[in-house]
């Protein structure tokens, strides 16, 4: 049972329309501090939209979003700014600001949220973040001048530059090569190990099995099921087993590996 104080985000009966089409239908979600929640489901089921509504980027047409118990619509500009300072968002298509170079992409959140920080301090913070993420490219380049893999890494760096407590990640592995996928999986694992709250939309079975404390499965713009990953993964429901088919394989491999490690005699 979670303490009410541990709930960092809560969405109640959220409905979202785009061009008259219902993308989310009466969705209710509650996210606890320092947990990792994986949002998955079929194509076009509303995963990315749910992530954006939960982060407050897209306002729900109906329903309410509560951040740390406060209604988002009633929050003052200063509180929203403070919440933004404490969260980072990694977009599916990176969404780097194309009219700025990579350095400026990383510097702007610092300039905005830490006005007291000197130019030199910002430079140190940027180089420290890049080192942590093993980013070794010329930051004077524009986003269009680098590969999509590097764009994704810079997008992670931009989200993490303010050392956020909550990280939203939208389909981190889409259209990436094998090597970058491996780097990003390990990066996400590190973010989890740092104790940050993670909300992630992904189809990737490896990330799901490695990361998920909680699972939300969407079907036809509604929540099909949600709850503890360990419970859902054991479900006999055909749709859940279809969605999680690869995840369950990975999870059983993972379990086998653990068994190998703790008692090699069993194998």
């Amino acid at each position: 049972m979670n303490d009410a104080n541990d709930i960092v985000l809560e969405l109640k009966d959220a409905t979202f329309f785009k061009n008259g089409i219902k993308i989310l239908d009466s969705v209710s979600v509650s996210i606890t501090k320092k947990t990792s929640t994986v949002i998955t489901g079929g194509l076009g089921s509303g995963k990315s939209t749910l992530l954006k509504v939960l982060s407050g980027i897209l306002p729900a047409d109906e329903g309410k979003l509560f951040i740390e118990g406060k209604s988002y619509n009633l929050m003052s500009f200063a509180r929203i700014r403070d919440f933004r300072k404490r969260n980072g968002f990694v977009f599916q298509d990176s969404a780097l600001w194309s009219n700025k170079n990579l350095y400026q992409n990383l510097e702007l959140p610092l300039q905005y949220h830490f006005p007291e920080m000197s130019r030199e301090e910002r430079k140190i913070r940027i180089s420290r973040t890049c080192r942590k993420l093993s980013i070794d490219i010329n930051l004077m380049n524009r986003p269009s001048q680098i590969s999509s893999g590097n764009r994704k890494l810079i997008s992670f760096a931009r989200a993490l530059i303010t050392d956020p407590e909550v990280v939203f990640i939208d389909d981190p592995l889409s259209a990436l090569d094998f090597e970058t996928c491996t780097r990003i999986r390990s990066l996400i694992k590190n973010i989890k190990n740092e104790g940050k709250t993670i909300l992630i939309c992904t189809y990737d079975p490896e990330i799901t099995s490695m990361l998920a404390d909680n699972l939300i499965i969407l079907k036809d713009h509604r929540i099909y099921t949600s709850g503890k990953y360990n419970h859902i993964v054991k479900s006999d429901d055909e749709f859940i087993r279809n969605v999680l088919a690869n995840v369950i394989d990975k999870a059983s491999n993972f379990d086998d590996d653990i068994l190998d490690l703790i008692s090699p005699d069993f194998s």
Binding site: A95, W97, S98, Q111
Partner: protein
């Protein structure tokens, strides 16, 4: 018949909604502009870049048009007006046409063609590539960071360009007048200053401010109306140009009428 009435009603309702939304957008821009001026804002660089693009880079085309217009007015005036014994009216015509009417209007038209199109295209592309969402996710208000610097930049540039257009037009007409009728530089400008009343200068600058606010609001508003496809961008650019022209001409008509009735 019922369907037509329904459709008409829906159209009126949609237009009213859009008008209300655009008015809200304009009021938010005005409010954020005050905060922008009061605070040390990270958008100053965007403002400087906007003035550079809209104001400085348009100087050559503005001066060329200003000089050309001055030449046309002085040649036509100096050849036609003396035939009716009204040669002295040339100064009044120069001031009314260049300073009061065409200065603000032509600079506005040039800025619509150059900058409004660029602003709508840039913002539309940012919407499509989710860059606006990235600003929101970072906590940066797109109105205060993207709209206000463009709003202030276009308005300030338009006032400066209008002044520059006036100077180019009036000086250009002086040089051409030397080929038709020799007038000393001092006499030419003394005659101009006699008809150049403060109310005319104020009216001209006021028009530039209003046109600048209209052009930048229309361009940014339409840029943000793109929803997710690059094919929408040319459509909103055309809207920005059309609405910019219409609203500037309407505003000009209203200002001229008020000016006529009250001054």
């Amino acid at each position: 018949m019922v369907n037509s009435i329904n459709q008409l009603g829906n159209n009126i309702l949609n237009n009213l909604k859009e008008f209300a939304y655009a008015s809200g957008f304009f009021l938010k821009t005005i409010r954020e502009s005050f905060f922008f001026i009061k605070q040390k804002h990270i958008g100053y660089k965007v403002l400087v870049m906007q003035i550079l693009f809209t104001g400085f880079e348009a100087l050559s085309i503005i001066s060329l048009i200003g000089i050309s217009l001055g030449v046309v007015i002085i040649i036509q005036g100096l050849t036609l007006l003396p035939q009716f014994g009204q040669g002295d009216l040339i100064y009044k015509i120069l001031v009314v046409v260049i300073t009061k009417e065409l200065g603000p209007m032509l600079t506005a038209f040039i800025i619509i063609a150059r900058s409004a199109t660029a602003i709508s295209t840039e913002l539309g592309n940012m919407v499509v590539s989710h860059e606006i969402e990235a600003y929101i996710a970072t906590g940066i208000d797109p109105v205060s960071y993207l709209v206000v610097p463009r709003f202030l930049g276009v308005t300030i540039s338009l006032v400066i360009l209008n002044l520059y257009f006036n100077i180019s037009g009036l000086i250009g007409s002086y040089f051409v007048s030397q080929f038709i009728r020799q007038v000393t530089f001092l006499e030419y400008f003394r005659n101009l200053l006699l008809v150049l009343r403060p109310v005319i200068i104020f009216s001209s600058l006021f028009k530039s401010i209003v046109f600048g606010m209209i052009i930048s609001t229309v361009a940014t508003y339409n840029g943000f109306k793109v929803e997710g496809s690059t094919t929408e961008i040319p459509v909103v650019v055309i809207k920005s140009v059309g609405q910019g022209f219409i609203l500037c001409i309407l505003a000009d008509a209203i200002i001229v009428t008020i000016n006529y009735l009250w001054f």
